[in-house]
């Protein structure tokens, strides 16, 4: 196996008196799809946001896509170019057209020409199945379409690694599938993905590894076949039971 593309060591994150992450060690190999699961407040999203430094860690080290993220001298903008991020609430640029949403970063950050960036944006929009909406504003699209555009926007920077922060949690149930299938295609193409999710079926089907977080530590991790049927720890078992049988 090649060197891991993400290496997290001794990661702590504290918000005031609230220690959300209490010493995380995690490696992600190139091309691996890792799903982060755990109860709300377990620190899944914070961990994800520490990878591209949207949250600066309190202590510990993060290496991602060849950048020492926790080095004070790191060129954070250069590092983030290699790390795509998809948000729960899409966060598409509301003042820009769909096409511009995807083309803006390659133009303004990578210095691509408008023609080149837009051609690539059209290709990506086709890939995520949002065609014929190039001129529309984000608000005119359904949540599922917006999230797929957000994925295309992140892909436009040609990242080495993609972070997904509960990408389907804000969607109406009938729109979840279209986003997950785009993510599935991405995984099949070999993209390295770190996904915070509550979609156990996605984890079962697509993940190479499932990491269970609780109380700011990695409680247990392993292949989805085991993690989602017979985890070893009691905490993982009870979480899984609550997720799979919510009305019991």
């Amino acid at each position: 196996m090649s060197d891991p593309i993400v290496t997290i060591r001794g990661l702590h994150k504290r918000f005031g008196d609230n220690e959300v992450l209490r010493g995380i060690d995690l490696d992600i190999a190139e091309g691996e799809v890792v799903c982060l699961i755990g109860p709300s407040g377990s620190g899944k999203s914070t961990l994800l946001r520490c990878v591209n430094l949207l949250e600066p860690p309190t202590s510990g080290t993060v290496n991602a896509a060849g950048h020492d993220m926790t080095d004070p001298d790191v060129d954070i903008d250069a590092a983030r170019r290699d790390i795509g991020m998809v948000f729960q609430h899409f966060n598409l640029f509301s003042h820009l057209s769909i096409l511009d949403n995807v083309a803006i970063a390659p133009r303004r950050v990578l210095g691509r020409s408008r023609a080149e960036a837009e051609a690539e944006a059209r290709r990506l929009l086709t890939e995520v199945g949002v065609e014929g909406k190039e001129r529309a504003r984000p608000a005119q699209l359904s949540g599922g379409q917006q999230q797929r555009v957000a994925i295309a926007r992140a892909l436009a920077m040609d990242p080495d690694l993609m972070l997904f922060d509960e990408p389907t949690s804000a969607l109406d149930p009938e729109l979840v599938g279209e986003v997950l299938s785009v993510m599935k295609g991405l995984a099949a193409d070999g993209m390295t993905m770190l996904v915070v999710t509550h979609e156990m079926s996605f984890a079962r089907e697509v993940a190479d590894r499932v990491v269970f977080l609780d109380g700011g530590v990695v409680v247990e991790q392993g292949p989805p076949s085991r993690m989602l049927t017979e985890p070893e720890t009691e905490r993982a078992q009870s979480f899984l039971h609550r997720v799979l049988h919510p009305v019991d």
Binding site: L54, G84, M85, L92, S94, H95, A139, R153
Partner: protein
């Protein structure tokens, strides 16, 4: 129904009665004012068509100046106000302090006093220094300083109204702080503040009437000064009415535009 037993009226009948009483009071007030006014005298003081007609076409020069002064001050206000707004949200404390003091000072001073300062005090304090553009430069700066403080506050509010997720998305794509400001935050913030900025334009239109303190000639007079000088030369108040109507010609469409933009903003 309990209420019906008490008043003998249904809710619908009570609403009608209440409405009839309100109309009655309003009509009585209008009739009383109309009956008490001396219409002959009012017409003679304010509605002399010959006096009004005599103002045209000369009044257009001052009308044009009012528009020009307003725009000059607004452009200056934007050029200074937007950077001040950026300084107010800067991570550098020194910028924030400077911008806060600037806003408090120019928002707290009467526009008239600032005009005096720019027009007389500064040239006196720095002999030999003159403002570029003569009276036009003085107006742009004198009115623009006050305006820039209000514009800065509006734009700051607009910047802070841009959802944090927009910034996170931009930064995640590798945009620098500055690039994010220019490409994502400012365009959205300016959209948010179009209605308050339109209101600022209405206020500036009226504040341009203060320009007379700088001492203006026939060519540089604005509407109010022109109307006052006509008032003096004709010994009749009609010019004030004409001047007032011309202000409304500017401000009412602007207000309507601001309202429309506000509604449009809500829909988005």
């Amino acid at each position: 129904m309990a209420s019906r037993e008490r008043t003998g009226l249904t809710a619908r009948q009570r609403r009608r009665l209440s409405r009839a009483v309100q109309y009655g009071v309003f009509a009585a007030a209008v009739i009383a004012v109309a009956a008490l006014a001396d219409w002959g005298r009012i017409a003679d003081s304010f509605l002399r068509l010959d006096v009004a007609a005599d103002m045209f076409p000369r009044v257009w020069t001052s009308f044009g100046n009012t528009v020009l002064y307003t725009l000059l001050a607004f452009v200056f206000g934007m050029l200074v106000g937007v950077p001040i707004a950026l300084m107010r949200v800067s991570s550098l404390a020194a910028y924030r302090w400077f911008a806060t003091v600037y806003v408090e000072v120019f928002r707290g001073l009467p526009a008239l006093l600032v005009l005096f300062l720019v027009g007389f005090a500064v040239p006196q304090a720095f002999p030999g220094v003159t403002w570029p553009g003569g009276v036009y430069g003085q107006v742009a700066i004198g009115l623009g300083l006050t305006s820039s403080a209000y514009i800065a506050e509006s734009v700051r509010a607009g910047i802070q109204a841009v959802p944090p997720g927009q910034v996170e998305a931009a930064r995640s794509l590798g945009m620098s702080h500055t690039r994010t400001m220019i490409t994502v935050v400012l365009p959205q913030a300016l959209r948010i503040v179009v209605p308050p900025l339109t209101n600022e334009l209405v206020l500036l239109t009226k504040d341009s009437s203060l320009v007379f303190v700088l001492g203006v000639t026939t060519a540089t007079m604005e509407l109010t000064k022109f109307a006052r000088s006509e008032l003096t030369s004709t010994a009749n108040a009609t010019p004030l009415l004409v001047g007032g109507l011309l202000y409304l010609l500017l401000t009412v469409p602007l207000s309507a535009l601001a309202r429309r933009l506000e509604n449009k903003g809500d829909r988005r």
